[in-house]
Symmetry: D2
Subunit: 408 residues, 4 copies
C-alpha cells in the first residue's frame, strides 16, 4: 500500500518487482502510467498521461482489466495502520495539522488518481466507463467492492444534483442524443426513428433528461411523459399512433410512462427521484391545466409473488391481488417487495389505481399478468409521504386501492 511512501520510491519498486496477474507488457504499462500520473507535477504531461491511460484502458481485455482493478484495489489502497495511529494522534491533539495528516492518510491513492485522470478533456465519461467495467467484474470478484465504493463516492459528489442540467429532449434535439434515447429506453422498447418521433413530436408528448456539463451529449436518465385527459389504464392504448394529439389546454393529466437510466457506470447515483419531481414542478408551472401527475408503471415482481403465494389468480381477481401484493408484500427489511413500488413510494408517491389488461405485451404478461399500476405524485404531499415511508414504512394508497386489498 503506497499512500504513506514517497511516490518516487514507489515508482522504482513497481518497476522492479514481478507483476501479479499481468499478462502482457501492454497491461503493465497502464499501471506504470498511473503511478507516473500520481507523481507528475507538470500540467501538460499530466493531461497527456491521462489521455494515454484511457486509451490503454480501452484496449485491455477482461483479464487485464481485472489485473488493473486489482492494482487499484490493493496497491493504491490506504495504509490502515497509519490511519489508526494518526487518528489516535488527532484524538489526543485535535490540531489542524493532525487533522490534515489524518485526512491525507484516509484517502486512498486511487481516489487521487481518478481526480488527476479527470483533468483531461472528456475524461469524466472515461471514468464512468471504467466503473462500468469494474461493476461487470464485481460479481465474481466481490473484494473489488472497496474500489467501487471509492468510485461511487466520487461520482456521487461529481454528479451532485446541483451540477445536473435538465433539458427537454424533442424532435428538435441532435440525432447524437436521440439515438441514445432509442438505445437506452429500458421499459417500452423504441423500435426505430419513426417510433421515436411518435414519442417526441406530438403536442401531447414530452421527454426530459438530466445531463452533466462534462458529458453534454450523454443523457444520464430520461423520463417519457404523455399528456392525457384522465388517468390512462393501458400502455398499448397510450403508445398507439392515433394521429390525434391533444392540445396543451385539453390535457389535465401528465403520465410518466417510462423512466430509464442510461449509464451503467453511474449505478447507485440516484437521479430518478429528482427528475420526476422537477418535471412535475415545471409542467405544473407551464401548463396550469395539468392537475394530476401519475405514472403508468409495471409491477415486475407480481407474477412471481403470485406463484409463491400459490394464490388462485382468476382474471377478475388480478387487480385485488396486485393491490394486496403492493401494499402488503415486504422484503426482509420491511420494505415493499416490488422494486418499482419501492422507488415511487420512496419518492413520496401514492398507490393510486390498478388496471388489469393494461400491458398485453409479452413482457407485461410474463412479469405481472398484464396488470399495471398508477402511482400518484401529489406535489403538496410528496415530502410528507416520503418522510413517512422512510421513517415508518407507511405505504400511501388511495381509498379505492385500500378497498381492493380488503376485498382481496
Amino acid at each position: 500500500m503506497i499512500a504513506s511512501r514517497p511516490l518516487s520510491e514507489l515508482l522504482t519498486t513497481l518497476l522492479e518487482r514481478p507483476t501479479f496477474g499481468w499478462k502482457s507488457t501492454d497491461s503493465h504499462r497502464i499501471r506504470e502510467d498511473c503511478v507516473k500520473l500520481l507523481a507528475e507535477r507538470a500540467e501538460i504531461s499530466g493531461l497527456q498521461l491521462a489521455a494515454k491511460i484511457f486509451g490503454e484502458y480501452d484496449a485491455l481485455n477482461d483479464a487485464q482489466k481485472l489485473a488493473f482493478f486489482e492494482f487499484l484495489n490493493e496497491d493504491l489502497d490506504i495504509d490502515p495502520r497509519s490511519v489508526a495511529s494518526l487518528a489516535e494522534a488527532y484524538h489526543d491533539a485535535p490540531t489542524p495539522e493532525n487533522y490534515q495528516a489524518l485526512a491525507k492518510a484516509v484517502e486512498p491513492a486511487r481516489q487521487r488518481l481518478f481526480r488527476r485522470l479527470n483533468e483531461a478533456p472528456g475524461a469524466t465519461a472515461g471514468i464512468v466507463r471504467m466503473r462500468q467495467g469494474l461493476r461487470e467484474l464485481l460479481k465474481d470478484h466481490p473484494h473489488l467492492a472497496r474500489t467501487d465504493h471509492d468510485l461511487l463516492h466520487l461520482l456521487r459528489s461529481w454528479f451532485n444534483r446541483g451540477f445536473l442540467v435538465m433539458q427537454q429532449v424533442s424532435w428538435d434535439s441532435p440525432a447524437t442524443i436521440l439515438e441514445k434515447i432509442i438505445a437506452y429506453e429500458a421499459v417500452h422498447e423504441i423500435q426505430n426513428w419513426d417510433d421515436l418521433r411518435r414519442r417526441l413530436q406530438p403536442e401531447d408528448r414530452r421527454c426530459f433528461a438530466f445531463f452533466h456539463p462534462s458529458m453534454p451529449t450523454e443523457p444520464l436518465i430520461f423520463v417519457e411523459v404523455a399528456l392525457t385527459k384522465g388517468v390512462p389504464n393501458s400502455i398499448q392504448t397510450l403508445l398507439a399512433d392515433t394521429g390525434d394529439a391533444l392540445t396543451e389546454t385539453e390535457a389535465n393529466t401528465a403520465v410518466f410512462y417510462s423512466i430509464s437510466n442510461c449509464q451503467p457506470g453511474l449505478a447507485g447515483v440516484s437521479f430518478g427521484n429528482s427528475l420526476i419531481k422537477q418535471v412535475a414542478r415545471d409542467l405544473s408551472r407551464d401548463l396550469p391545466n395539468l392537475k394530476t401527475f401519475v405514472t403508468l408503471s409495471p409491477i415486475p415482481g407480481f407474477k412471481q409473488w403470485l406463484k409463491i403465494e400459490d394464490t388462485d389468480s382468476e382474471e377478475t381477481q388480478l387487480e385485488k391481488l396486485a393491490a394486496k401484493y403492493l401494499l402488503t408484500a415486504k422484503d426482509e427489511k420491511g420494505r415493499p417487495l416490488d422494486p418499482v413500488a419501492r422507488f415511487h413510494l420512496g419518492n413520496g408517491a401514492q398507490v393510486h389505481a390498478l388496471h388489469s389488461g393494461a400491458d398485453t405485451s409479452e413482457r407485461g404478461l410474463r412479469q405481472s399478468r398484464g396488470v399495471m399500476v398508477n402511482y400518484l405524485y401529489d406535489l403538496n404531499k410528496i415530502s410528507q409521504r416520503a418522510t413517512q415511508f422512510s421513517k415508518k414504512s407507511t405505504i400511501a394508497a388511495s381509498s379505492e386501492v385500500k378497498a381492493l386489498v380488503r376485498r382481496a
Copy 2:
C-alpha cells in the same frame, strides 16, 4: 461529534443543551436547519432547507458566523476513536464491509452537509461564499483550519480542471461578466468601461477566463493578452491608447500582461497554470504567426529585498540586481523569494528579460522600483522545465539574464 450517533438523537440533544457562542435565536436556527438537512430524506424539503440555510448564513453577523463555523468544526467533526478502531478492524480483515465502515467514519458530517447544500440551485456559489467567510476568520481562529481543509478538498474536486470551461471574454460578452472583469482586475486596475473596452475590443487584444458550469456568470480567473511585434518592455506603453491596433497577421508575440483570480472563496484551488497554457496552445493553433509567448510581470518583492540586502541601487544597476534577486534570492524552503517568480517558474516558464523603467505607476515604483520581467513560455519546454524546477529547484533563465547576474 455526531458522525457515529443517529441523527434523530443528535437533533434532540442539540435542542436541549445550551448553545455555545450563539447570540440570538436567529443564529441558532441555521444550526438546527443544518442538522435537519443531514437527516432529511425527502428531496423537495431538502432543496428548500438548503436554500433557507444559505439565506440564514447571509444574514449572520461576524460573531454569528464564527459560531456557525465553530459548530461545523466541532459538532460536525469525525470521531477519531471510532476511526482508529475501524482502521484496526480493516487492517485485521480488509473486507469491503470494513472498508466502507471506515470510509464512512473518516468523512466528517460537515462534508456531507456541504454536498447536501449543493443540491439547491445556485448553491455552488453559496458554498464558495461560505468559504470566503471562513477564510476571513481563519487568521484569528486558526483551529477552524480543519473545516477549511475539508472545504478546500471538496472545492478542488468540484472545480477539477476537467469541469472548467475556458471562454474568451470580449466586448461581445454580457455586461454581467464584464463588470466582474473590471471589479476583479488585480494587477493593472481598469478605471471604467472605456478603459475595459480598450483591453477587449482592439484586434490585438484578448482576454480569456475559466468558468464553472454551475457559476456561469462568475469568472474564476482571467488573463489579459496583448498581441505585439516583439517582446514589450513597458506596461504603460502597452496599455496606452494609440488607436493603432496590429492585425492578427502582423503580431508575432502574445503577452500575458495581467492574470487575476476572481474568487477569494476558491483560494488554494489553482487555475493559473492551466489557463495560461491553454490560452498559449489555443492562440498558437489559431494564429500561427505567433512565435513567442511571454508575460510582462511585476516583481513585487524586489524593493523590499533591495533594502534588506542594503545594496547600492543606482538606476543603471537595477536590471542586474533584479536578475540577481529573481535567480538567487530564496525562501526558507529553497524556493524563489518572489511569489510571481514562484508561480511562473513552477509553471515551466523561463526568466527571459528584465526592463527598468517598465512600470512607472505608483505601485510599480513602490514595489520594484519600476523594473518588470518577461517570463517566457516555450511550449516545447514547459513540461521539462516545470519538472526540473519542481524536483531540483532549477531556475530556467536566458543567457542574457544569466549574464546580468554575473555582472551584478
Copy 3:
C-alpha cells in the same frame, strides 16, 4: 438613362464622356465599379466588387457623395418613354411576356444595383448607411428624393415585420449592443453605464428591441419599460434610483417611458407600433398581474402652441390646456398637431391622463412646461381605435381628460 441599353455599351460610354461633378479619380471609380457590378455575372467577382464599392463609398467626401447619388438618380433611372410604350403594349395584349418586359422597364437599374450590393457579407448595414448619407443631402437636393423613394421601398421590403426578431435587452446582453442603447436613447438621455444598469437590471425594469438577422448587433428600435404600482405621474420619480425594485407580482402596470429609433438610414420604415404591441402582448402573457399598459410621454409641441394661442398659462391651468392641445389642435391634414400624439393615437392608444410637473428637466420645461401625458394601450380596443383614428380622425380620450378639455 441606362436601363434600356446594354450594360457593356454603357460601360464604354461612361469611360469616355466627361464626368459631371466628380472631383477626383477616386470618386470616378465607384461609379465605374457600380456599372461593372451590374454587368458582372461571376459570383465571387461580384462579392469582391460589392465590398470594394462600400469601401469607396465610405471614403467619399460630401461633394463626392452628392455626385454619387446624382449618378444613381440620373444615370441609373428608368426610361419613362420605354415604360409608356410597354404599358400600352401590355394594355393591348396582357400576356406574361409583355408583363415581364414592362416589369423590367419600370425597375430602375439602381434598384438592381442595391440588390447586387446586398449579396456581400455585412452589406445590409452598408446600404442603410448609404441611405443615411442620402437623407442628409435631401434637404438641399430635393430631386434626389426619387432615389430615396427606391431605397425606402427596398428597405421596407427587407425590414418587413416578418423578418424582425424581438429580443429583450438586459444587463446580460453583450456590451456591443448596450453601448448602442446608451448612444441611441433619444428621449431621456442615459448618462453612463451605471445609469444604463439602473434601467436594465432591477426586477421592475425591462427593455426590448427589434433586430434584423443581417444586422445582429444593431438594434433598430428599442422601448424601455418600467413595471409600477399604478400609473406614474413623473418621469424624474420613475427614473430615480430608489434601490427598491418591485417584484414581478407586485407590479400591476407596465409603463413605456421611452422609445427610440436607432437607424437614421431606416427613417420611414415604421417599427414602433409593432414593437409596443408585441411587448404589451408578451408582458401580458408572462406577467398576468399586469393589467394596465400606458406610456409616460412628452408633449413636444405644447409650449410652442401655447405661445401661438397666446393663452394665459398659469400653472393650475396647464393640464387643462395640454388636454385641449392634444384633443383639438390639428395640422393642415386634420391630424393631431403633436407628433407623439399622432404616433400613439395612430397605434390605437387613448389619451389617458395629464400631469403637470411631470418632467422638470430643462427639455421638459422648454418643450411642454413640464406637462406629460399617459397614453393607454388597451389591448382589447387598440385595433378598433386605430381604425377609427385612421378613418375618422377620432381621438380616443378618457372621461377625465375630456372633462379637462371642457373646463379649459
Copy 4:
C-alpha cells in the same frame, strides 16, 4: 384592376359582383380577406387576417386555388393605362412626385398583398408554399405567369445571398432538419437514418446547407461532400460503408457528390453557385491539405443524345462519346445541352475527367449508361471561366478530356 381605385370602393364592388370560378362560400372568403388585408391599417388585425388567409389557402382544393390565383392575376394587377399616362407625365417633368406616382402605379396590388401577408409569424414559408401551388398550375394556365413573375421577383429580393446563412448539417443537427435532408436528397437517395448517418458522421464526410432566418428549420439547398485521396471515379465506391474514414489531414480532395434544392416554391432563385463556392472557400481555409475541389456528377442527357446521334456506343467508346457530348452538344441558344453541365460550367467549373462504370445504379445506367463526370472548381480560375462561359460560351476542359473528344 384595382390599383388605381380606393380600396373601400373595391371592397363594396367585390361583394356585389358575381364571383368568377369560385365554387364555394369558403373560397370566396379568402378573396374578401385579401382585400381587407390590403385596406387594413391596424397592425394586430393585420396579423390575424394574414394568419387567417394562410389557413384558408391551405384548405383550398385545386379548383379553388386556381380561382384564387386568377383573382391575384387579374383583380390585383396593375392598370397599364394609368401607368402609361404617369410615365408620360414623368418624362415631361421628372419630379420626385411624378416618380412616386408612377412607382406606385407600376406595383400591382398583389405585390403589396404578399408583403402584408409576410408580416405574420412564419409567413415566409407560407408564401413559398403559395408559389409552389401556383407553379403546379402554371403548365395548364400559362397566363398566371404574370403573378409568378411578381412572386419570383419578391422571393429573389427576400432570399438575397446577403440574407442567407450557411450551416453545416451534421449528426449533431436536430432531427427536424435531418429528416428533411432524407426527404429532399434528389440525386442519390438516402434510404433511412443509418444511411444518413453514414453521410454525416464519418470524419471524411460533410454536408452544408443554406438557411433563411425566417425558415430556420427548412434547408433551402444542401451539398454533400466526401473528403478523399485523389479524384473518385465511382459513386457506389464513394458511398460504400467501408468503416474506414480518412482523417482530415489524410484527405487532399473535396468531392461535391450531391447537391439538392429543397424548396419547389423557390424555383428560379439560384443558390447552388453560391453554396458550392462558399463551401469550397471554407473547406480550403479550414483544411489546408485540400488541394482539389471536384464534383462527381451525373450526365442526365447523355443516353438520350446517344440515341439521337445514333452513335455506336460500345463500352470502350463511352467516355469519348460522353466527352464529345459535354463539349459539343448544344441547345438552340448555343449552351451545353446537358443541364448539369450548364450549371457547373456557368459557375466557372471545368470538365475535368470522365469515368465509365461510375454509376451502376438503375438510374445511372438509364440516363447516362453509367458514365459520370468530374467538374473541377479551381478557386483561382472560376471567376474568369464563369465570365468566359457567360460571354463567349467557352467550355473549359482539361487536356485529357479534350484529347478524348479528338479521339471520339
